[in-house]
C-alpha cells in the first residue's frame, strides 16, 4: 500500500502513480466547499472567489470559533457525504481545475469521468474523526461567501499532513466504492439465503 504526501499546487503528474486504496496526506491549502458553493459555480455560473486550480477542496461543514476581527479557529471539521455533490462534480472539476476532492463515502459515474478526463482524485477522510482533522489545520487563512453561514462558508486553511486520505476514485477510471458494492451485494445474496433458512417462524 503506497503512502504519499501531496503538496499544493498539485500537478496531473503528481496523481499518475496514485491508485484507489492508497493512503495519502495533504500539505498546503485546503478549502471547504459543499452544496450551495457547487450550485453557485455550476448553475449560476458565478466564479469561485478562491483560486483552487491545482488545489484541494473538502466536502465539510465545520464548527468554527470566531476569535475577533478576521481570525477564526477550527474546532472540529469532519467530512460530509460526498454523494450530495455528485450532480455537480464533473462540471466543477472542469470549471475550477481542482485536483483533490476530499469527503465521505463514495461518488458516482460523473465524478469518475471528471477525475479521469481532467486528472483529479477523490479521497475519503475517516468520518467521525473531526478532531484529528482539525488538529491537521495550522490556521484558517481566508473565509469567502460568508453569507452562506458557518457550515457552508468557503473556509481556506493551511494544513499539514492532513489525513489519512483513502483514495476512492483515481485518474485511471477506477472507483473503489462502486467496486466494493458489487462484492457486498454478492455476499449479501448468499447471507440472505442462509438466514432465511432459519427464520421460518410463521408455520
Amino acid at each position: 500500500m503506497a503512502e504519499k504526501v501531496l503538496t499544493t499546487p498539485i500537478s496531473a503528474e503528481d496523481l499518475e502513480d496514485i491508485h484507489v486504496g492508497d493512503v495519502i496526506y495533504l500539505t498546503g491549502e485546503l478549502t471547504t466547499c459543499r452544496d450551495v458553493a457547487h450550485r453557485r459555480v455550476i448553475e449560476e455560473k458565478r466564479p469561485l472567489p478562491v483560486d483552487i486550480k491545482d488545489g484541494a477542496i473538502l466536502h465539510a461543514g465545520p464548527i468554527i470559533r470566531p476569535l475577533g476581527g478576521d481570525q477564526y479557529e477550527m474546532v472540529t471539521v469532519g467530512p460530509t457525504t460526498s454523494m450530495r455533490m455528485e450532480k455537480f462534480e464533473e462540471a466543477f472539476i472542469r470549471e475550477t481545475g481542482v485536483r483533490l476532492i476530499i469527503g465521505k463515502g463514495g461518488m458516482g459515474e460523473g465524478t469518475m469521468r471528471g477525475c479521469r478526463d481532467y486528472k483529479a482524485i477523490h479521497c475519503v477522510f475517516p468520518a467521525g474523526c473531526a478532531v484529528v482533522a482539525a488538529s491537521c489545520v495550522e490556521k484558517i487563512i481566508a473565509a469567502n461567501w460568508k453569507d452562506l453561514g458557518m457550515p457552508e462558508t468557503l473556509w481556506t486553511s493551511k494544513v499539514r499532513k492532513f489525513g489519512p486520505l483513502i483514495v476512492s476514485i483515481d485518474t485511471h477510471g477506477r472507483n473503489l466504492f462502486e467496486e466494493n458494492k458489487v462484492i457486498f451485494n454478492e455476499r449479501k445474496d448468499k447471507v440472505c439465503e442462509e438466514i432465511c433458512r432459519e427464520v421460518g417462524f410463521i408455520k
Binding site: 493512503v23 473531526a130 417462524f201
Partner: protein, 299 residues
Amino acid sequence: MTKQEAVSRMTDTMAKFVAFTGKRLPDDVRQKIAELAAQEEEPLAKSIYQTMMRNQELAQKLNRPSCQDTGAIQFFLKCGSEFPYLGELPSLLREAVIRATKDAPLRHNAVETFDEYNTGKNVGLGIPSLFWDIVPGRDDCEIYTYMAGGGCSLPGKAKVLMPGEGYEGVTKFVLDVMTSYGLNACPPLLVGVGIGTSVEVAALQSKKALMRRIGSHNPNPKAAKMERLLEDGINKIGLGPQGLRGKHSVLGVNIENSARHPSVIGVAVNVGCWSHRRGHILFDRDLNVTIDSHSEVDF
C-alpha cells in the same frame, strides 16, 4: 430544595451531561470498537480504526466534540408517574440543549421545515425530540440521550410487509439497507430493528433498540436468535470501517418487538454510526444522579 432550585439543578446536570456525551463515547461502544479493531488484519481497515481511536483520545484531551455533527438531540424517557418534576421536563430539557449548545459547543442542527431557516440555537419545533414512557407508581426518572446525526439518520427505513413475506422478508429488508445507505453511514454500525404492526410502532422500536447496550439480547429466544443471525450475516458482508471493507460490519444488531395484527408485519431499521453518542442517566426523586452508560464521568 425548592421546586425552582430543583429544576435549575436538573437543567444544569442535563446540559453538562449532553455536552459530555458529545465528547466521550459510552463504555459499551468503546469496548466493542477496541475489540473489532484488534481483530482487523487489513492494513487499510487497521489504519482507519487507529484514526478513530486517536480521534477519541484527542477529543477528550482537547475537550471538543469528537464529531462535527453533534446531531439533533433526542431524549427517550422512562419517567415514574410520581416523579416530582415530570411536568417540568419538556421545558428544562429544551433549556439544557440550548445551554449545552453554547458550552460544548454543539453544531446548530435545527432547521425549521417549510420556513427553511436554521434557528441558530439547536432547538426548534419538535427539537429536542422527547419520547415518553410513563411508569405507573415509580418516583424516579430514567433518560436516554442521543445525538441523531445526519449520516446515521439517513438510512432509516420502515415498511409494512405482508405475512406471506415472513421473517424472511424482514431479513431481506434489513440486509438491503446495509448494502445501500448503510455503507455511507459510518460503519461499523449499531443496527436497530423494530417489528410490530404499523410503521410508527416499528420505527420507534427500532430506535429504542439502539438505546440498548451492545451485547444485550432480546428476551425472546427466537428474536435473540435472529439478532445473532443478522449480526453474523451482516459481518460476513464485510463492510469494514467506513464501508471500505474489513472483517466486520456492525457493532451489533438489536431487535425490539411487539405483537402484530394478523394481516401485517411492520418492520423498521435505524442505525447508529460508530460514533454512537448515547447516554443513560437516572434521577431519583431527590435528584441524586446515577450514570451507567459512562464509567468515567468528569463534569
